[in-house]
């Protein structure tokens, strides 16, 4: 079965601390993985995707097929990073995205 698991509902860190938002997936095949972010009162937007291997707003994520994980990391959290983060999996040739339950990141001053 295709599934995305984000084990933490809430992650609270202090400004300047490292951040790691966990994401594990279940998929037989070559998955495409994404991180979406939703800031307060804004719409859901793409943060990054694994095929681009890019860094956005200081965030990176590496696909680990052995551990079936796609954790989101940032070395130094900023207050403006406070938001809801969703990991998503796209399988097959349709546009279907399978989302995790989301993790709220709270960065304290």
């Amino acid at each position: 079965a295709q599934r995305v698991t984000q084990p933490e509902k809430l992650l609270s860190v202090f400004k300047g601390a490292p951040v790691e938002l966990k994401c594990n997936y279940s998929y037989s095949g070559s998955p495409e993985l994404f991180w979406y972010v939703q800031y307060s009162r804004q719409r859901l937007q793409l943060l990054l995707r694994h095929i681009s291997r890019e860094s956005i707003k200081g965030f990176t994520a590496d696909l680990n097929k052995g551990e079936t994980s796609f954790h989101l990391k940032k070395p130094f959290a900023q207050e403006e990073d406070s938001a809801m983060y969703y990991c998503a999996l796209k399988g097959g040739n349709t546009g279907k995205l399978i989302f995790g339950q989301g993790t709220t990141l709270q960065v304290k001053p």
């Binding site: 995305v4 719409r43 859901l44 694994h50 095929i51 796209k90 349709t94 279907k96 989301g102």
Partner: protein, 115 residues
């Protein structure tokens, strides 16, 4: 470009009623997907339409239906509303259904409350 737009923003219905939600994709995008987001959970895929044809369907009952028009806008219909249909309904558009990590752009959603 205003991005993906959805109407209405909020809606209150009673059990058994029917509802129609509307979505306009980004100009040039031919694919529209619908998601249901229940409070405290991630979005759940309902449908994808591309070039007016259904290209994907999630695990939702037949009470849920959708269509896409020649201008690529889309409607989601839900019949015989249940309390459990209360959720935020999101529309997302993309250029096509192709793989390669194509980005889906989300609208602000329609919040439906069923009483």
């Amino acid at each position: 470009d205003a991005g993906v737009t959805q109407s209405p923003t909020h809606l209150i219905k009673t059990r058994g009623q029917q509802v129609t939600l509307r979505c306009s994709p980004i100009s040039g995008h031919k694919s529209v997907s619908w998601y249901q987001q229940v409070l405290g959970q991630g979005p759940q895929f309902i449908f994808q339409y591309y070039e007016k044809e259904e290209r994907g369907r999630g695990n939702f009952p037949d009470r849920f239906s959708a269509r896409q028009f020649p201008n690529y806008s889309s409607e989601l219909n839900v019949n015989a509303l249940l309390l459990g249909d209360s959720a935020l309904y999101l529309c997302a558009s993309s250029l096509s259904t192709a793989g390669g990590g194509e980005t889906q752009y989300f609208g602000p959603g329609t919040r439906l409350l069923v009483l």
